[in-house]
Amino acid sequence: MKIIISNASSEPIYQQIGKQIKAQIISGDLKEGEGLPSIRKLAKELQISVITTKRTYVELEKEGFIDVVAGKGTFVAIQNKELLKEKKMKSVEDLMSDTIMEAQKLGITFEELQEMLVLLYND
């Protein structure tokens, strides 16, 4: 598992970690059933507060990405195949929304954007 935190970023640390863990679960870098560090171990390794790591795990658990099993530890949740596909689609959709917003800001038309997509996809 790889986690890089930026203290300078305006995004709260618990969100940064959450995003990175989610991305690794979606991409399969973190496999279903794989064990995750305890909140205290993670806090120590990342040199942040236990309260922050706890918050991250609570959010991830709510969203169904991880399971906390009493007495055993924290694991990547078995991903429902459809749900996983949805999550993957959503993550690309989010990137697309960002790109579209940027294009609109810069005055790039939909046709120009489409052209770019075709070119880059076939690269």
């Binding site: 709260p12 909140i39 120590k44 507060s49 236990v50 009493a70």
Partner: protein, 312 residues
């Protein structure tokens, strides 16, 4: 999809953990100084940093917890027990790092240990020697030749050799160089891997607390300014910078304090959301450090005192 509820237990265990320390309505006066109705709690398994300017009351609070000075009113509970009614039992479980052992500095660390150990029935020589080895402390040299870093490490080793569950420290890193400080902070982080241990330490080195504290309690002029999780502090406070034309008697009210230069103002808000509603994107928002928070909070107090004195 129905998920079994068993997993909730492990978080609930952490959430419902008892408080290692509970301070309620604590007050104490001496001369001009008044510790005024201070209340805060430290849940088990966490690190709390006590910050405040010199003379604000941090050391007074710690001394009261350890019963080195008498409180005037209020309650102090440690491990759920009244700290006076159960003084001996409480103290056996506290590792107190107050200052370097300079009144015994003609002794070697080993001799000093032999003086202290009999006071604790949980004294553990194996732990002591292990820590001494880890911190590379000399056992046979007189403590008076120790460097500041070594002397502080010695105090910490002694405090941790009787299976204490609550470590209380008054300015443990204040006289140490950055390398030793970092080493100690890493060590405290490791300590807290055991969720039964809690740490309270006062410091004016705010960067140390920014790194390691779970909770921050800020005392200014004897009063509690806040006691919150570190995350909450940084999420609610923010530095705000903008053009002077944006300031008027109304907008000023959203700040704890503001200062202006010829080129613009800089202020501290303790409610970023509210401030965003007023200024929107017309200003720059920057992360406030603990030092910024202390500086502006103190500025506000000074301003109030000045206003009060100019009325007469």
């Amino acid at each position: 999809m129905i998920k079994p509820k068993i997993h909730r237990q492990s978080y609930n265990k952490e959430c419902m953990s008892t408080n290692t320390l509970e301070i309620s309505n604590l007050s104490k006066s001496y001369g001009d100084f008044h510790l005024d109705n201070v209340s805060f709690s430290l849940p088990k398994g966490y690190i709390m940093g006590l910050i405040g300017p010199n003379g604000s009351g941090k050391t007074t609070i710690i001394k009261i917890i350890m019963n080195l000075i008498m409180k005037q009113s209020g309650d102090v509970k440690v491990f759920g027990m009244d700290h006076l009614a159960n003084e001996v039992e409480v103290k056996k479980r506290i590792g107190f790092v107050y200052d370097t052992p300079n009144y015994y500095d003609h002794l070697s660390l080993k001799q000093f240990k032999n003086t202290i150990a009999p006071f604790y029935d949980q004294w553990d020589d194996a732990v002591f020697y292990d820590l001494v080895k880890r911190f590379k402390l000399p056992l046979e040299k007189k403590i008076k030749v120790f460097s500041k870093g070594m002397a502080m490490k010695s105090s910490i080793v002694i405090a941790l050799s009787h299976h204490a569950d609550f470590i209380v420290m008054d300015e443990p890193t204040s006289n140490l160089d950055p390398v030793v400080r970092r080493e100690l902070l890493d060590f405290f982080r490791e300590l807290i891997q055991d969720e039964n241990k809690s740490i309270l330490f006062s410091s004016h080195i705010t960067t140390d607390l920014e790194q390691i504290a779970d909770y921050i309690t800020y005392i200014n002029e004897g009063k509690l300014v806040f006691s919150k999780t570190k995350d909450e502090v940084f999420e609610s406070y923010s530095l705000v910078k903008g053009g002077n034309e944006l300031l008027d008697s109304d907008t000023k009210k959203s700040f704890v304090a503001v200062k202006s230069s010829a080129y613009g103002f800089e202020g501290l808000t303790k409610n970023v959301e509210a401030t965003r509603k007023i200024f929107g994107a017309a200003v720059v928002y920057d992360k406030a450090s603990l030092e910024d928070i202390m500086f502006y909070t103190n500025l506000e107090t000074v301003k109030t005192v000045e206003d009060a004195t100019t009325r007469y």
